[in-house]
């Protein structure tokens, strides 16, 4: 593990430390691990709590049998094993989740990640990528990875479970869903992921004007201005005049690239503003701040202010 990852894991372990179950202390009357589990907040881990309860309902003597966390873990693993080989009533996703949650509760997040991985491998084979249980378990794993600061791994899970299956489809619904994923990736600053999805959509000629424009925005965020310029040209070439809001955005990016090249863009910006005034339907949400933030130091304060103001208007803000 790299040093950054190591630090992340250590601090995550610290976070989870407070929920660690302590070994039973000698007392005048016996302690009980089951009640300890509830004291330590097991109810926050719904599957784990339900799993422990299920085990005890099936075998009440486990109340005494669960003398320490190791006994509980052993019982959970055994139940998981039974369910992997079980019949129609088995629910391996539930037991994978419960066991992983127990690992988190006992401050062993890396063991939890391992259980989740094992569970996903099993479910992908047994139920398929698109099965609801596979997605639910993947989401749990993603959330834990994010909590541990393992952002890249979390993204990879999301990509494999949400994006890859959509990429295998060519229908319009999948394309739209993919574009939504690309936008989410862009908004979250995962530009490389967004670029890959937009390129995939362009390879299938999905709404080329808009998609080239989206891609240009991503490339600008990545600082690849020359590539962005090419995409803006392609967007303009592909623009058919149907969706005027796209034209406004293409022209905005064109003007921005021109300004970054040192050109005076007051004229084009005024023209865009006039267009917005005449066609209010072109004003709708547009996320451009990350790009403006990146290029702010490359523009004069006046030009930057013009672009910032125009972006607000494009997004539906007030016009003077």
């Amino acid at each position: 593990m790299n040093p950054a990852g190591d630090i992340a894991m250590k601090s995550a372990t610290l976070v989870l430390e407070k929920s660690k179950i302590t070994a039973p202390q000698p007392q005048s009357s016996p302690s009980n691990c089951v009640l300890d589990l509830w004291e330590q907040g097991i109810e926050r881990y719904a599957h784990c709590a339900a799993a422990v309860a299920r085990l005890i309902v099936a075998e009440p003597a486990l109340v005494s049998g669960f003398a320490d966390p190791a006994a509980v873990e052993s019982a959970l693993r055994a139940a998981l094993s039974r369910n992997l080989t079980g019949g129609k009533t088995s629910s391996p996703a539930f037991w994978f989740s419960a066991t992983a949650q127990f690992m988190v509760l006992t401050a062993r997040p890396s063991d939890a990640v391992a259980i989740y991985r094992q569970g996903l491998d099993h479910l992908k084979t047994a139920c398929g990528h698109n099965h609801a249980e596979t997605h639910t378990l993947a989401q749990e794993m993603e959330r834990l990875l994010r909590l541990l600061g393992r952002e890249e791994e979390a993204c990879a899970i999301g990509h494999e479970l949400r994006v890859k299956p959509l990429m295998a489809q060519d229908d319009e619904g999948s394309m739209l869903a993919l574009r939504g994923n690309a936008y989410d990736a862009f908004a979250a600053g995962r530009y490389a992921e967004a670029e890959a999805i937009y390129r995939h959509l362009l390879a299938r000629n999905f709404e080329p004007a808009g998609t080239h424009c989206h891609l240009a925005r991503v490339l600008l965020a990545l600082g690849r201005d020359a590539d962005a310029r090419d995409e803006v040209i392609r967007a303009w070439d592909a623009y058919t005049g149907d969706e005027t809001y796209i034209a406004v955005r293409i022209l905005y990016l064109k003007a921005l690239l021109a300004a970054l090249g040192g050109e005076n863009v007051s004229g084009p910006l005024t023209a865009i503003e006039q267009n917005l005034l005449n066609q209010p339907e072109t004003r709708r949400t547009w996320l451009i701040e990350p790009i403006l933030e990146r290029v702010q130091s490359m523009l004069t304060p006046k030009t930057y202010a013009q672009f910032a103001r125009l972006s607000r208007i494009i997004s539906g803000g007030a016009m003077d």
Partner: protein
Amino acid sequence: MAIFKPRNSSPQPIRFVEGSDVPATHLMGFEQEMALCATKSSGPVPDLEILLKKLCEIAEESLIHLRGFGDSGIFIANGGRLYVDCLKYEYAGPECSDPDEMVKYLLAGERILAALASELARRTGLDDAGLYRCNVDYVGSATWGAHESYLTRSEPSKLSADLIPFLAARVITAGAGGFRPLTRTGCTFTLSPRAWHICVPMSQSSTGAGERGIFHVKDETLSTGYHRLHVLVGDAICSHAQNWLKFATTSIVVALADAGLHPAREMALCDPVDALREFASDPTCKATARAKSGRQLSAADIQRHYLKLARQHMHADWMPAWAAMAIEKWDAMLRQLDGAPDSVATCLDWAIKYRVFQSHIEKKGFDQKWLRNCTHLTDFLRCCLDATPSAASLSEFSPELLLNPRGPVRKIVSQLAPFLPSRAMEWGQLETYLKLRSELFALDFKFGRLGEKGIFNCLDRAGVLDHRVAGIDDAQIDYAAAHPPALGRAKLRGEAIRRLHKKGSRDVSNWTSVFDSGNGMLLNLSDPFIAEEIWSKKGNPNTACNFPF
């Protein structure tokens, strides 16, 4: 220790940043949902729906008002609105330009509603009728919202990342206190019961179970040229100072974000919902959550970060005139929270409740530790009952069911018996615990009742609280009940309502216009800062199809 000093409360004129349309006057508003509860010793209490309808009739008879468009209740002379939504009675205050006004109009509305409830009891022969700021229902899953609105120039969705850490962290200064809802058997104190109904960082929905977000992306602007940020993660609170601070600090943080300063750049939380719940679980306010930067941050750490940035920009031309004073009060409150819960036990709702609950628990001869142990034991047994084959038919959680020698968890109960003494528990106390739990929930419910019977108001009258905002007195609150704020469109709306109000009038109002049906004239209020009444002719007022909205 009083943290709110006397000050001049005369309203500041509307200001804009010189040479631009950026307002330095910050408009804001609130909506508060309330539960109506009635008792009658002889005969059945009428259905809630009937009582709410009667309450609306009383409001129409006794208040200067215009009907809202469609079925949207009434707009009253102070510029606010009263209506019924999903069997909840709701008061939405007029647009206000500073936190003093917000508190005044909140209290004015509460005064109006308390009087309406009393009149309802009198007219319908009820023993009692009251409206309650109860936030959550501990039996079911209903909630009563206390939402805020802040005027912005940015689309709300673009402010989400900047505001989510603040909205999660403000629970320590804005929480109502109570118990964790949705547990069925537990009794665990929380700084904010509604925090447990928040399930995602961002949402479109404000009502759906499992869908409410810390940040609400709704963008129903109700104006031209501006946006409206709708904040739904919040509780209805009683303390005047706490309400003041909630409105002031949120307005300032929204202004920082709206100005493009990205105030949360270093504060992004790995899991904001988990962080909110962690913060809400700790009455000492020391709980921490992990930021994406890798740091462990307490709610106070996060608020101090925003406070620091606010101080740096305190004199910016887009900051409101009251910002400097708000920043001082904010700073003082964060310092005071170092000693929470005791240090804030007379001024913040959650800490006042914490003391009230503590006192009741001790009066019954128990302590928090015992209550926690009982919570864990009953939660465990509830889980076991759920896991039994007969779970579906077990709606009632009772000692009889648990301790029944032929009951579904009898073997587990007998297995657990040897482990109870070390936790100072015995099975015989189960009924006592469930009774105490009900009593504590009832205390929480009664705490926020409007009018003199509310526990908060009783404590206030007894002089044991320190929550008042200097400069806001009874006369001002009475005035605010019948008159609009001094600035902005609420002023014009309120004045027009007062002039047009007459019995049987077909004149109507909504947030963005008032329609004078007699003259077919429309007052356009879509500019929230409008200062002058400009009426324009609008079709034939006698035909519904020419209705202006």
